[in-house]
Amino acid sequence: MRIKNYNELNSLELDTLREVGSIGTGNAATALSALIGEEVRIELPEVRIMEYNEAIEWIGGPEEITAGVLVKMSGQIDGIMLSVQQLDFVNLILNSMLGKTVEDYMGLHEMECSALIEVGNIMISTFINALSGLADIKVDLTVPAFTVDMQGAIMAVPMAAYGGQSDYIMTIGGNFVHDGKAVPCRLLLSPDIRSLNTLLRKLGVSSGD
């Protein structure tokens, strides 16, 4: 059955997407471990279907400042992938790559931003590679875009992109664990509805039409 809205997904489909999230995030964690030379593991990945304002509360409130790396997917599936990097994560990266930490986001200059973009891009690409291998689909990615601003406005980007189709946003992703502590870097995949149908069909859990 083809779904018309995110909240029509059945439990088999949700389980499948959770598995995609698990494999994608797992691969991204491995890439991150290799980059910083320390073990990084993942928390249990989640598939969430949320109303807009609920999504913003979930990520931690609208005005909280955060760094975001965004990549747009096109080709056989369309979607947006975000790496939302909160300060603990930023410092984990900067400390291992540049040997420094920052007090707040104001301390990020060109070099620090480049490092964060690169790490975000590698994690996103690794996730998408795993996804495209799993479902046997071809996905093109844009050059990563970066901003430091209120996270409500960052989360609103995928919402606005698919807002004409749905009052909900779907995210697949999870957090990382480093040195026994959860590190808040959410890796969030938001496909549009058509692409979600394609993905489920390719993964063999939806007959399609």
């Binding site: 050059v143 901003t147 601003d149 409500g152 980007v157 992109a161 807002g163």
Partner: protein
């Protein structure tokens, strides 16, 4: 302490004479304040997209066109006069520089649509703080018609 009314995404609220209307983290979205200064009736809308093309049009406040139209109707029902209503807006930023596709210019399309629809409804736009690449939090005080825009890394701006 004065009461604060928070307007979520695709939401609208009204206040008369006192309190504070606030909407957080406008990125490409636009916050629209509509105000009748004589009876001190204020409404704030947080729209996300320029045009309502949804079948059934349930979520009117998600869109600039139906949001403005519906809000004016509700304000008039509370005694506001269209000839007196003025507007202040903020938002419509481009949060990420992504080349290609329609993603990048949702903010600009929102600004254009809000301008067009205010004009169509005969509402005077007093002040605006739009475009650029920064997220904005918008506050509006119904007691005096003052709006304030808060951004990261920039001083507060009164509009």
């Amino acid at each position: 302490m004065e009461t604060k009314l928070t307007i979520g995404i695709a939401d609208m609220k009204m206040a008369k004479g006192s309190g504070m209307l606030i909407t957080y983290a406008l990125g490409s979205c636009i916050g629209i304040c509509l105000y009748d200064p004589l009876i001190k009736l204020a409404a704030m809308i947080h729209i996300m997209l320029p045009l309502n093309m949804e079948a059934g049009r349930q979520n009117t406040m998600k869109y600039a066109d139906t949001g403005i139209r519906e809000t004016l109707k509700q304000m008039e029902a509370k005694g506001a006069s269209r000839a007196r209503i003025v507007a202040k807006i903020a938002g419509g930023a481009k949060m990420f520089e992504v080349n290609g596709g329609s993603l990048g210019n949702i903010g600009q399309r929102n600004i254009d649509s809000v301008h067009l629809n205010l004009k169509k409804e005969g509402i005077r736009l007093l002040k605006e703080d739009v475009g650029g690449s920064v997220a904005r939090t918008l506050l509006f005080d119904p007691s005096n018609g003052m709006a304030c825009v808060r951004c990261y890394g920039r001083p507060e701006l009164i509009i």
